[in-house]
């Protein structure tokens, strides 16, 4: 059993419907999530995130490819899912029962009923005081918290969270962020996190994959992706005109206000920039590496895919004609 890789998918694909109604929701998806990571799964609406999560949880059957959890095919060893806890596409519960009863039903379904574990989880997600109220009276945020508790019921090694902060207030989002990070850092759990909140993913995740129209278009460590391509350095120096002249010989430079220059260079160019400026007798006050945010990166990647895909579709249509 390969314990170092929590999730591995090979050419995973899912097609819904037939004929003209055929929709290929996920295509040739190859994921590799190492144990102990917090792995972000990003994509616009309808990109295939939830379908992928349902495939991972064996809720839907792949039309191609395989899902391996800790090295074993989940379709052949469904009991592997005992090691996985998931919150899939929003929390859903029996509204007529209270939180404790809902968790009891889920624990008994898994043949793992431990009342103390339920109490501890309700405490952990901040629902202990309202555990005896019917879930139907809960806000969306409270249901999400209960969903997290349900995902953690069996003390899983792998936790799959689909938009866990939906419905939470800003304080709740911040708290959830810390909670997710602590699951990985303190309890050594692997987290697979699907989210629209790119800022949240940037702060919490070690690695991310971006899915667009059912395909992974980028994946890697967050730090690597953010420095890939568009990185800039902001330089505060004097005299500024002379600094611009010196740096302009090697890099594209633009003025950024009265005291700053923006240099289109990679972070590893920082020492060379400082050396050149100092060699010319220019005073360097500050050099700041300006990476793009995950949001900028995500927009750049997904928008770059739009024309490419539109082009491919046009060509496909032309072939049919």
């Amino acid at each position: 059993m390969n314990e170092s890789v929590a999730i591995r998918t090979e050419n995973l694909g899912k097609t819904f419907g037939r004929g003209k109604k055929r929709i290929q929701a996920v295509k040739n998806l190859n994921l590799n999530v190492r144990s102990g990571q917090v792995y972000g799964f990003l994509g616009p609406n309808g990109a295939g995130k939830s379908t992928t999560i349902r495939l991972l949880m064996d809720l839907i059957r792949p039309t191609q490819g395989t899902v391996h959890i800790y090295g074993q095919d989940v379709r052949q060893r469904p009991q592997l899912l005992n090691r996985v806890g998931a919150l899939v596409e929003g929390a859903a519960f029996y509204n007529y029962m209270n939180a404790r009863d809902n968790l009891e039903v889920l624990a008994r379904t898994a043949n793992d009923y431990r009342p103390r574990r339920i109490s501890a989880l309700l405490e952990q997600v901040g629902l202990a005081d309202r555990a005896h109220q019917a879930v139907g009276s809960y806000s969306t945020g409270m249901k999400q918290r209960l969903g997290i508790a349900a995902a953690l019921l069996g003390d899983p090694d792998l936790v799959i969270l689909d938009e866990p902060t939906n419905g939470l207030d800003p304080a709740g989002i911040q708290e959830m962020r810390g909670f997710i990070r602590s699951l990985a850092d303190e309890q050594n759990k692997t987290i697979f996190l699907s989210s629209h909140l790119l800022n949240e993913v940037e702060q919490v995740c070690d690695c991310v994959a971006i899915i667009y129209e059912g395909e992974i278009v980028r994946d890697g460590a967050v730090a690597d992706l953010l420095t890939e391509g568009k990185a800039e350095l902001r330089v505060q120096a004097s005299p500024l005109d002379k600094a611009a002249e010196v740096l302009g010989e090697h890099w594209a430079v633009s003025r950024d206000g009265a005291q700053w220059l923006t240099v289109s260079a990679q972070p590893e160019d920082q020492p060379h920039i400082i050396k050149r400026l100092v060699a010319q007798g220019i005073s360097v006050h500050q050099v700041v590496i300006q990476c793009q945010s995950l949001e900028e990166y995500f927009m750049a990647v997904t928008q770059a895919e739009v024309p490419a895909n539109s082009r491919a579709k046009s060509e496909q249509e032309a072939d049919h004609v």
Binding site: Y94, Y96, M97, V105, L106, R108
Partner: protein, 292 residues
């Protein structure tokens, strides 16, 4: 398996509105009905000459009547509708509430379906047993108030005979309920909707024991149509009862028109219905994508 059963039981019995209107209505309704009759009997002096509630005059017979609700034609046409609605709502409710996604990763799909079928059947059985006990107690009280005898006296032999008869009727009722649950489950799983489960279920409940097509077959002199009647659950339940009580086949069709099915034949047909519908429900769910 015990934990899974407890989970199913809890989910269902905690749904008070559903169970009150579709399951507990039998014992509660019967208790209320008998209570009203007893109050009327108490307040009206003229009624002291007899019981108001219809009765065979024997608790051993009165307590068995309850089981006709689910196993005997024609009572079962409408008698099965409430349990059927209950079962369809419970199966399809998991789609409506979006809760299958929480359950499926936690246990084998086949186990989830089989346990649900068992739990639903046990719940309805509990309601029917309670109803029959209430009928026995209510009639006994009514007879006592009216100064009428309500036999037979409790002897070892009477109790042994009653236990045998009651077990037979309860088993036939349970088989009927299990077939009903498997049908309601299959319909709800296939349509993924409460309405779909209800419509298919009601259709089954009305058409399955219907003698319309039996009459049609006789009128058209088509034995092959009449013969189909021999394959329905209701006919075979009654045929089994006939063999066990009277030691002969149930004469539901004109003598000589078709051969009368044996006890083994009827048990075989019932087993086929039960296993076939259960396998269908399990198969459908096993192959199904749990989407939102």
């Amino acid at each position: 398996m015990f934990n899974l059963f407890r989970a199913e039981w809890k989910k269902v019995v905690k749904n008070y509105k559903l169970t009150t209107f579709l399951v507990w209505i039998y014992p509660v309704g019967m208790a209320a009905f008998l209570a009203i009759l007893l109050i009327v009997q108490l307040s009206a002096k003229s009624s002291a000459q007899g019981t108001v509630a219809p009765s065979s005059g024997q608790w051993t017979a009165d307590m068995l009547v309850t089981w006709n609700i689910v196993s005997s034609f024609p009572a079962n046409i409408f008698g099965r509708m409430l349990p059927l609605a209950f079962m369809a709502v419970v199966f399809a409710g998991e789609y409506q509430w979006g809760t299958w996604k929480n359950l499926v990763p936690r246990n084998r799909r086949v186990a989830l379906i089989l346990t649900k079928l068992a739990a639903l059947t046990v719940i309805v059985m509990t309601a029917l047993v309670s109803t029959s006990v209430i009928v026995g107690l209510g009639q006994s009280l009514g007879h006592k108030m009216a100064g009428l005898a309500y036999g037979p006296a409790l002897t070892g032999e009477v109790l042994a005979d009653f236990a045998r008869d009651y077990t037979r009727e309860a088993l036939l009722g349970m088989i009927s309920l299990l077939i009903l649950a498997a049908f309601a489950g299959s319909a709800a799983l296939l349509t993924r909707s409460i309405l779909g489960g209800l419509l298919f279920g009601f259709g089954f409940s009305i058409l399955e024991p219907s003698e319309l097509w039996l009459v049609l077959g006789i009128l058209l002199s088509k034995p092959e149509i009449v013969n189909l009647y021999r394959f329905t659950p209701t006919y075979n339940l009654n045929n089994v009862r006939s063999w066990l009580v009277d030691h002969s086949a149930l004469a539901a069709v004109p003598p000589g028109f078709i051969a009368q099915p044996t006890l083994a034949f009827s048990l075989g047909i019932l087993a086929l219905w039960l296993l076939g519908l259960t396998a269908l429900a399990a198969f459908v769910f096993q192959k199904q994508d749990i989407t939102s």
